[in-house]
């Protein structure tokens, strides 16, 4: 029997980078296959080739033994390939059923109208068949992320997909939803559907998949049987060297409270309350970590702390001073540095060069603009210093920031924020989409600041990151800080439960930082 999917020697280049380098991939019909690798390993690119979004520069796609050429996703869909992207391809303002039948609407009255009764019925039947609980009449913007994902899967199935590709399907799910999703995988596989899912989490690959293929730097470095492999083997395949697990970190020496948040309530743009009474007391010389599945209020919390969003109620204090009503600029002046979650939206002005970007946030300080006149010479020196110290490449202050790679953009932001000589640092996903070398560098700098007695609030969805760097670790779920635990003693299982909103009995909660004397 031939494989349902066989990718043969796929090569895909982008200007200046080889995303896929002669990758082979074979997936049996009715099996669940995990595509494992670090960010930037080329997993999504490979799947976009299979899905017809990209044309390969070399190699062939085979489906059921037949060589195929997909020029558009339409071709791939017609051949029975469906893809569920990381960002859902759903129309928020339509109902789930309308989304599922989009492009294939059943018609009545000679095509003049959508047969909505039939559409709803078909969706209901399909959803029952795979044990999904999807209300065909609910508007997509009103259902949870987990349900939206099911709508995406149903949409692919409705379009006749036999091969389902899922890009990082667990990134936005709670542990419980993840478990449900894996059950869905099993049901689909039982119906002879072939599933390929992209992940960078070893545990998930081992738990859900039959086979695991590991990509590293655009190459297939091995396909293994999920039951016969070990975490260590997979980790080595992924990283290509022993995983550096422990950052150098001496015991904390916490001082006074540097950043305090009390009973903070924040609503999002839609008016939904996202932060529901959070209390934080991060101390000088301490990294206070916040873990949680994305979208549980972390973004809104950070925006309220940094002055980008007005909270509904509660207080924010910097060094004991109430700054709740202070503007963003006043908080910068009060000694707050902020590494934003979205560097291309907020952290950098993409059209500006690095000289101008080095000024962002300091454009009113007497150092750079005494009397409102900008000292460009000094600004340029400042940018060049950041570039040199943080190894930003290319080392050219006149480069437009849009021309830099993500990692270098991030290094520049980190450099600029740390150069403020801040007292409080809010770092939101500081290493997202950043290469391994830069990650270590950014981690070291954060720990330097901790050593220098600064207060660090670190928000990240990477568990290993928050666990390694934090002295205390708060876990957010649905806008609440479920618990604050000792990151050295908490287990991954306990964290998982906390992130799902449950409090395990023996979680190592701590009210005060270890080593603290108050």
């Amino acid at each position: 029997m031939s494989a349902a999917v066989y990718l043969e020697g796929i090569t895909k280049r982008f200007p200046g980078v080889v995303a896929n380098d002669e990758v082979d991939l074979e997936v049996e019909e009715g099996s669940i296959h995990a595509l494992l690798g670090e960010n930037g390993a080329g997993k999504t690119t490979l799947m976009n080739v299979l899905y017809g979004l990209y044309q390969p520069d070399g190699g062939t796609v085979h489906l059921d033994g037949e060589p195929r050429e997909f020029e558009t996703p339409r071709d791939a869909i017609d051949a029975g390939v469906g893809m569920i992207h990381q960002h859902f391809m759903l129309v928020d303002t339509l109902t789930t059923a309308e989304n599922i039948v989009l492009g294939h609407e059943p018609r009545k009255w000679g095509g003049l109208a959508i047969d909505r009764v039939r559409a709803d019925r078909e969706v209901r039947e399909l959803s029952r068949r795979y044990g999904f609980d999807v209300d065909p009449e609910a508007r997509v913007e009103n259902v949870s992320v987990g349900v939206q994902q099911r709508v995406e899967i149903l949409k692919a199935l409705y379009g006749g997909a036999d091969v389902l590709i899922l890009d990082e399907p667990t990134a936005v799910l709670t542990p419980q939803e993840v478990a449900d999703l894996f059950e869905v995988f099993d049901e689909l596989a039982a119906e002879d559907k072939t599933i390929i899912f992209i992940t960078h989490k070893l545990g998930e690959a081992m738990e859900a998949a039959d086979d695991i293929t590991v990509l590293r730097n655009g190459k297939n470095v091995g396909t293994v049987d999920a039951d016969a492999t070990t975490r260590e083997e997979l980790a080595e395949l992924m990283v290509g060297r022993e995983v550096l697990l422990e950052a150098d970190k001496e015991p904390a020496d916490p001082g006074a409270v540097g950043l305090a948040v009390s009973d903070l309530r924040v609503t999002d743009d839609r008016g939904v309350e996202q932060v529901r009474g959070v209390d934080i007391d991060a101390r000088e010389g301490e990294v206070f970590g916040i873990a949680g599945v994305d979208g549980n209020g972390q973004s809104e919390l950070v925006e309220a702390v940094t002055g980008l969003r007005t909270p509904e109620s509660g207080r924010v204090e910097i060094g004991g001073e109430d700054v709740t009503d202070r503007s963003r600029r006043e908080r910068i002046d009060a000694g707050m540095a902020y590494i934003p979650e979205d560097r291309q939206e907020r952290g950098l002005v993409m059209e500006f060069d690095l000289v101008e970007n080095g000024l962002l946030g300091s454009q009113h300080t007497s150092e750079f603009a005494a009397g409102g006149r900008i000292d460009w010479e000094h600004t340029r020196e400042h940018a060049e210093e950041i570039i040199a110290e943080y190894d930003v490449r290319p080392p050219n202050a006149d480069a437009e920031s849009a021309s830099l790679s993500g990692g270098n953009q991030q290094k520049f932001i980190v450099g600029r924020e740390f150069a403020r000589d801040p007292d409080v640092i809010v770092a939101s996903h500081p290493t997202r989409g950043v290469d391994v070398g830069s990650i270590e560098f950014i981690h070291d700098r954060l720990l330097d600041l901790r050593r220098a007695g600064k207060t660090v609030l670190l928000v990240s969805s990477k568990l290993d990151e928050v666990q390694q760097l934090s002295d205390r670790l708060g876990v957010m779920h649905e806008g609440e800080l479920v618990d604050v635990v000792d990151p050295d003693r908490v287990t991954e299982e306990e964290l998982g439960l906390l992130m799902a909103g449950e409090t395990p009995e023996d979680a190592p909660s701590i009210a005060d930082p270890p080593g603290g004397d108050r």
Binding site: K12, F14, P15, G16, V17, A19, G37, E38, N39, G40, A41, G42, K43, T44, T45, N48, H85, Q86, H87, I198, H200, L308, R328, R329, I332, Y338, D342, Q344, E345, R346, G347, L348, V349, M350, E351, F352, E356, L359, L360, G361, Q363, H364, A369, G372, R373, I374, D375, W376, E377, R393, D398, A402, S403, L404, S405, G406, G407, N408, R432, G433
Partner: protein, 412 residues
Amino acid sequence: MSGDDSTIGRALGGLVDASAIERILISLAALGLSVVVGAVVVLISGWVLSPCPSAPFATLGGLGEFCYNPIEVYWVLLKGAFGSTFNLATTLQETTLLLFTGLSVAVAFRAGMFNIGTQGQLVLGALGTGLSVLWVAPVVPAGLVGGVVLVAVGLLVGAAVGGFWGAIPGALKAYADANEVITTIMLNFVATGIAFTLVSEVFKDPGSQTVQTRFVPEYAQLPALVLGIDGFSMLALVGGLALAGLVYWVLRGTSFGYDLRTSGVQPDAAEYGGVDAKKTMVSSMALSGALGGVGGAVYVLMVAGQWQSGIPSLGFDGITVSILAGNNPIGVVPAALLFGALKGGSLVIEFDLAVPQQLVGVLRGLVILFVAMPEFFRMAGIRYGYGDDEPAVATDGGTPREGGADDGGDSE
């Protein structure tokens, strides 16, 4: 004005910047294409007009007569713009006025505010100038001193009124989220209506049939200095040029300008950088309105000598000027000269060739249309072998912003 080396160095650096050159090329190409399409419009209109009142320019069997020769039209247009002292004065008069309105639009556009309301700001600013000068005139001595005082008062009041009128849509956008394109256009209608009513009901020149105020004193009108023709003052032109330099410096060299530009290109980043978005919206619109108001003041003090109904559409032409200039205050200077020349020449083509002067209005729209589609010229450039076809290569070998090789959260 700033005289330090670094500012000048940056200015030059900005001009030789690749994207700046591209911008200039696109503006020139858009202009060229507009001239070509305009020629077609002229040809067709000549055909529509046939039978021609005078000898036709060409007769094509079956198609009929073509009355206008586009090349002649453009030639007369050009000659008309610079051919005589009088025409030159007309051209420079228009150039001067467009400098102010062009700068007004440029400031707003750079701040990300589509201020289509310069026209209204200008109309009310002009009224403010006219009335304030008439009001103050009796209490100052005639002659040079009085003239200086009156001009200063007129300019200040014009700027203040225009700035206030501009700040309204700014505030509506900042605090009520009202789309400024629509509010500014509506406020143009409102401004014209208010000014007309005020003058016709309260401030009308009793000795006139038309709706206009009394004339401001002779000594309050800007002196010609050169050319010697009423309606154009070298003083105003020099002032306009200096203002262009000043606006450039404000945008480029001050904290306020940095805030304004950052808000214009990336509001989220501006907010992150501590820029008060709402305040910037209001202040940039107020500045824009003030520049438009000064344009109105110069119109009164240099051209009309009074407020009168039917002020020409200098505000709308300012949009074209600014867009053609890539919203760069320095670029506004040549763009204003160009449209000044078109205006100067348009009177002549109507007079000499009977081609309606509204042709300039058509060209105005075409220029904006073509400048709005840089992609067209880029594609054309690539097809014919100019320019490179890999526009967004990351200089460090990484993938550009929307590159597909990144599996991380940035990819999409």
